[in-house]
Point group: C2
Chain length 256, copies 2
Amino acid sequence: MRILLTNDDGIGAPGIQALWQALSQIAEVIVVAPDTERSATSQAITVHHPIRVDQYCIEKPPICAWRVGGTPTDCVKIAIEALMTDKPDIVVSGINLGSNLGTDVLYSGTVSAAIEGSLFGITSIAVSLDTWQDADFSPAANYTAELVKMLEHKKLPPGTLLNVNVPAIAAEQIAGIAITKLGVRQYANTFERRQDPRGRLYYWMGGELVDNDNDPDTDIVAVKRNKISITPIHFDLTNYGLMKSLNEWNIDKIGL
Amino acid sequence: MRILLTNDDGIGAPGIQALWQALSQIAEVIVVAPDTERSATSQAITVHHPIRVDQYCIEKPPICAWRVGGTPTDCVKIAIEALMTDKPDIVVSGINLGSNLGTDVLYSGTVSAAIEGSLFGITSIAVSLDTWQDADFSPAANYTAELVKMLEHKKLPPGTLLNVNVPAIAAEQIAGIAITKLGVRQYANTFERRQDPRGRLYYWMGGELVDNDNDPDTDIVAVKRNKISITPIHFDLTNYGLMKSLNEWNIDKIGL
C-alpha cells in the first residue's frame, strides 16, 4: 500500500511526524507537506506565485520527504501530478493540532487536502486531535493506522472521504467510535480592534466558541463525549432540491 | 435594501466597480473587499496575522468603501461582525474575472465569500463572467441588479446561495437563463517544472482545461451554450447516505 501523507501545520509539526512513524509500519509513506503552518487556508491553491519544492529529511528513521512552499491542496496536487511516479492508494491528511468539527471544516486546510485527494478519485481521510496544547498524538496515530488498514479492503464510494476527530485523552479513556454528521460551530466577539504604534487600525480574528445546542449525532457532541468522530464528507455543493424550486420561480423571465 | 458587496479580484478590479455602480441604483451598497487580488483562496481566513482595514474612496460618484488586507471570507466576516452597524439584507460577491464553474467552485474565493454570507443566515450570491480578458461587465452587472431585486422578495432557504456565471457576450446574444447543477472540471499538465537562475527547482500551477463530457444540465454546458447559469449551492458536507453504510462496516470494532 502506498500512502500520500500531508497536513496543514507544516512538515515539521509533531502531528504529521507521529503519523509518518505509525503509517510507515504498515505501508510505503510518501510525505509531501507545506514548509510552514498553513492553517485555515481551506482549499486555496497557489496560482499567482511559483511553488518551491525541496527535500526534507529526518534522521530516525533516515527518510526524506518533499517540502512544498504552498497550501495543503497544492501539496496533494503537486504530489500526484508532478512528484510521485505512481498514484497513491490513499491520501491521509493530519494529524492536525486542533479539531476540525462542524461548519469549521469549510475553513480547514487539513480537510481540504483530503477533499483534493478524493477529487483525484483516491480514498482519502483527514485526522485531527481535539487540543491546542500538550498534544499526545500516539492514540490518534495508532487509530489512523488501523483505519487505513481497514480502508485498504473496504472502499469508499467516489466523491467521499472521512473526517476523523480524536479526543485528546489516553487511548484507554476513549469511549468508542461514532459515525457522525457535521454540527454547527459559531463564535462570538470574533474581531479585536487595535491600533499600531503609528495610530493605524488593525484587527485580530479570534472569538470565543459559542456552546451551540448540537444534535447528539454530530461530530461536536461525539468528541465532547470522548468518542472518536468519523464523519463521511462529500463535496458536491449542488442543492438539487432547490434546482426544482428555482425553476418554478420563473427566474428566466428576468430581463437581461 | 442594504447590500454588502465583496469580491476576490481586489477592491480596484473593474468587476466589483461595475457591480458597485449597478447595485447603487437599487440599494444602499457597502463595499468591503480585499486590498489586492485573492483569487483561488477558497474559504481561507486570516488567523495568524493581523488584518488591516482602511478607507478606499472613488471620485465618481464620491463614495467610500472598506479595503481589507485579507481574504474574501475575511471581508464578509469583518464587515458583518466589526464594520457594519446593521446586518446586510444580501451579500453579493463579484463580478469575478473568469468563470467559477463545476468543481472549480471549491477553490473560488468569490463563491466562498457568498458561502460565508449564507453561514451568517444572509441571502447571498456569487457572480462571475466567463472571460479572462477584454471583459465588458455591464450585462452581468445589470442582470445581477435584476436578480437582487427578485431576491428581495423571494427568499432562499437557509444554508443555500446562488452561484451565477454569465457568458462574456453582448446582452442581446445571451440565450436565456438555466438553473444548473455543478459539472466536473479537470485540467491536464497542471505543473510546469522550472529552475531559477541559481539552479533551484520550482513549479508553476497552470494546466489546460480538459473538455469533459458534462451533462447538459450542468453550469459548464449552460455557459458554453451562451446561457446565464444559476446554480443553487449548499455547504452541508455531510454525506448522510454513507453514515448508514459506515455503521454497517462495524468501524467501531477497530482496536484503539
